[in-house]
C-alpha cells in the first residue's frame, strides 16, 4: 500500500507538507526568532527585512514568529475538532447500522435534519454567544461536522452485519457492544480515516474564517486567521500581513487534501485506474 501511495507524486507532496507542519508546530519555540507576543513600538508595520524575515505587525510583533505559533493553533483545532466529529459520527453510525429499526430511523432523520443547515451558519450562531475561545470553536466545529462519518460508518456496518463472521459472533453469544467495537468498526476504519484527514482541512478553513471574522481565536493568541484580520485593515500599507498567513492556510489545507485524496484512491478499489 505504501508503494502505491508513493507512486502518486501529489500524495507524496501532501504527506511531506503534513509532516513538515507537525514539525513546525512542535518546534515553534525553537524556530521562532522572536517572542510572538513581544511588541516593539519602534518597529511597527515594517516590511520583511533581515531582522524580521516576514515583517512586523501593527504592534511591532514579528510576523514569522506569530505564524510559527499559529501553526500550533491550526493543528490543534484541526485534530481536536475532527476527533470530536469522528467520535460522534462513529458512535451514532455504528449504533444506527447495527441495531437498525426505529433507532436507525431516528438517527438517520436527525442526520438529514443536520445536513439541511448551512453548517457555517450553525457554527456562527453558536459561537456568537459562547466565548470565542479556541476550545469552544473546536467543540462547535466537531458538533456540526459528524454527519458524513455517521452515514459512512452506518453503511459499512450495515453491510458487515450480514457477513458470516458477524453471524458467527452473534451465534457465540457475543454482546452487541463487543461485536460493534471488535468486529464491525475495525472493518470500517479505512474510509473513516480518509474522511478524517479531509475533515482536518475543512476544520482549519472554518477556524481561519471565524478568526478572520473576529469571532474565532482571539488575540493576543496568534492564529493565521486573526493575523489576516489585521492584514485586511492595513492591506494598502502592509501586504505581508495578508499574503503570508493566507499562503500558510492554503498550503496546509492543500497538504491535507492531497494526502486524503491520495489515500482514498488507494483504499477505495472502485476508483482504481483502469
Amino acid at each position: 500500500m505504501l508503494r502505491r501511495l508513493a507512486a502518486n507524486p501529489l500524495t507524496v507532496a501532501g504527506a511531506v507538507i503534513v509532516v513538515l507542519l507537525f514539525f513546525i508546530a512542535a518546534a515553534a519555540p525553537w524556530l521562532a526568532p522572536w517572542d510572538p507576543s513581544d511588541f516593539d513600538v519602534k518597529h511597527v508595520l515594517e516590511g520583511p527585512s533581515r531582522v524580521h524575515l516576514l515583517g512586523t505587525d501593527g504592534l511591532g510583533r514579528d510576523v514569522l514568529s506569530r505564524m510559527l505559533y499559529g501553526a500550533r493553533i491550526s493543528l490543534l483545532v484541526g485534530f481536536v475538532a475532527v476527533g470530536i466529529s469522528t467520535a460522534i459520527g462513529m458512535t451514532l453510525g455504528a449504533v444506527s447500522g447495527f441495531f437498525g429499526g426505529i433507532v436507525d430511523t431516528i438517527i438517520m432523520r436527525f442526520v438529514d435534519v443536520m445536513l439541511c443547515f448551512p453548517t457555517f451558519f450553525l457554527i456562527l450562531a453558536v459561537i456568537a454567544y459562547l466565548d470565542a475561545s479556541i476550545w469552544n470553536i473546536m467543540v462547535v466545529i466537531g458538533l456540526t461536522s459528524w454527519m458524513g462519518v455517521c452515514r459512512l460508518v452506518r453503511a459499512e456496518v450495515l453491510s458487515l452485519r450480514e457477513r458470516d463472521f458477524m453471524v458467527a459472533a452473534q451465534a457465540l453469544g457475543m454482546r452487541p457492544s463487543r461485536m460493534i467495537l471488535r468486529h464491525a468498526l475495525p472493518n470500517a476504519l479505512a474510509p473513516v480515516f480518509v474522511a478524517a484527514i479531509l475533515g482536518v482541512a475543512g476544520a482549519i478553513l472554518v477556524e481561519s474564517s471565524l478568526s478572520f471574522l473576529g469571532i474565532g481565536v482571539q488575540p493576543p493568541t496568534a492564529s493565521w486567521g486573526n493575523i489576516l484580520t489585521e492584514g485586511k485593515s492595513t492591506l494598502g500599507v502592509a501586504w505581508w500581513l495578508s499574503v503570508y498567513p493566507g499562503v500558510a492556510i492554503l498550503v496546509t489545507v492543500l497538504g491535507y487534501n492531497l494526502l486524503g485524496e491520495g489515500l482514498r484512491d488507494v483504499l477505495d478499489p472502485r476508483l482504481k485506474a483502469r
Partner: protein, 324 residues
C-alpha cells in the same frame, strides 16, 4: 411523478419539525434571555414593559411550551420582529435579502457548471495526461484557497491598485441616474469580484466529481460498444458518455446548496452585499435572535427544496426512474 411528489412532501413534515427544533434549541440554549438584551440597550424600559415582553415571548413558561408557541407562530408566517433598532418583521427583512443571495448563488452555480463540466470531460478523457495533471493541481489549489483571502487579494488588486472594479455593495452612488445599459454594466461590475472569488474556490468540488463520474461511465460496456461500432471519440464522449455522467452531478447540485448559502456569510460580509449571509452575520453579532432563528430556518428549508428540485430533475433526465 405527482404521487412521488406527494410522498416526498409528506416525508418533509418530520424533517421540518426537526429543523425547527434545532433552530429553536440553538437559541434557547443561549445564555441570557432576549428580553434582557432588548432592555439592556434601552435604559428607559420599565419593569412593567419587561414583564410584558416576557409574556409576549412566553419566557415565563416551560421550554417545551415556548417551543410550541414559537412553532405555532412560525407556521402562521410570523417570525417575530427584529431586535435591532428598526424593529421590523423578520420575514420582511429576510424576503428583502433572499433574492440577492439567490441571484448570487444561481450565477455562481451556473458559472461553476459551465466550467466544471468541460474540465471534467477533458480530464476524464485524457486521464493522467499532462493537461489532466495540471488542471488537477490547479483545482486543488483553488479548493484549498480560503475564499475570504482570495476575496481580499482580489479587492486589493482589482479594486485598489488597478482601480478597475468596485469593491463593495451592489450599485454605485449614481446608479439611479444611469442609462439601462449603464445600470446593467454597473451591476455586473459589482458582482464580478464576489462571484469570481466564489467560483474559483467552488469549482474544484464539481470538476473533480464530474471527472470521476465520467471515468466511471467510460468504463461501462455501452461505451465500449459505441467505440466498437466505430463512432468517433467525440460522439462517444459527448453523446454516449456525457449524458450518463451528468446524472450524479444533478444530485450534487442539490447537496451543494447549504455550502453555497453558508459561504455567502463570508463573501457578503467582505463585499458589503445586503444579502442573507450578511443579514445573518450582523444578526449574530447583535444577538438578534429572531433574525438568526428565522434565517437558520429559511436556510434549511431552502436546502430541503433544493434537494427536492434536484431529485425531480433527476427523474426528468433519467428515463429509467420515470416508470416507478
Amino acid at each position: 411523478m405527482l404521487s412521488y411528489l406527494a410522498k416526498r412532501l409528506a416525508g418533509f413534515v418530520p424533517l421540518l419539525l426537526g429543523i425547527s427544533f434545532v433552530s429553536f434549541m440553538v437559541m434557547a440554549l443561549a445564555p441570557g434571555n432576549p428580553v434582557d438584551l432588548m432592555t439592556d440597550m434601552n435604559p428607559k424600559a420599565s419593569p412593567e414593559s419587561r414583564i410584558q415582553l416576557e409574556k409576549y415571548y412566553g419566557l415565563d413558561r416551560p421550554i417545551h411550551v415556548q417551543y410550541g408557541l414559537w412553532l405555532n407562530r412560525i407556521v402562521h408566517g410570523d417570525l417575530g420582529t427584529s431586535f435591532s433598532r428598526d424593529r421590523r418583521p423578520v420575514l420582511d427583512k429576510i424576503l428583502e435579502a433572499l433574492p440577492i443571495t439567490l441571484m448570487l448563488n444561481a450565477i455562481e452555480l451556473a458559472l461553476i457548471l459551465a466550467l466544471a463540466i468541460p474540465i471534467g470531460i477533458y480530464s476524464a478523457a485524457r486521464q493522467y495526461s499532462f493537461g489532466d495533471r495540471v488542471t488537477t493541481v490547479l483545482l486543488f489549489v483553488g479548493f484549498a484557497m480560503p475564499s475570504f483571502w482570495l476575496a481580499l487579494l482580489a479587492m486589493t488588486l482589482f479594486g485598489v491598485h488597478l482601480d478597475l472594479l468596485p469593491i463593495s455593495g451592489l450599485r454605485s452612488l449614481d446608479y439611479d441616474s444611469m442609462t439601462t445599459l449603464g445600470k446593467v454594466g454597473d451591476r455586473l461590475a459589482h458582482l464580478a469580484l464576489p462571484i469570481g472569488a466564489s467560483v474559483v474556490t467552488g469549482l474544484a468540488g464539481m470538476s473533480r466529481y464530474m471527472r470521476s463520474s465520467m471515468l466511471e461511465v467510460l468504463r461501462q460496456d455501452y461505451v465500449q460498444t459505441a467505440r466498437a461500432k466505430g463512432l468517433s471519440e467525440r460522439v462517444v464522449l459527448l453523446r454516449h458518455a456525457l449524458r450518463n455522467a451528468l446524472l450524479p452531478v444533478v444530485t450534487l447540485l442539490g447537496m451543494s446548496i447549504p455550502g453555497l448559502i453558508g459561504g455567502s456569510a463570508i463573501s457578503e460580509t467582505i463585499f458589503a452585499i445586503p444579502g442573507m449571509g450578511r443579514l445573518f452575520f450582523t444578526g449574530v453579532m447583535a444577538r438578534d435572535y429572531p433574525v438568526v432563528m428565522g434565517i437558520l430556518l429559511f436556510g434549511a428549508v431552502l436546502t430541503l427544496l433544493g434537494n427536492l428540485l434536484a431529485d425531480m430533475l433527476y427523474i426528468v433526465v433519467d428515463p429509467r426512474l420515470r416508470k416507478r
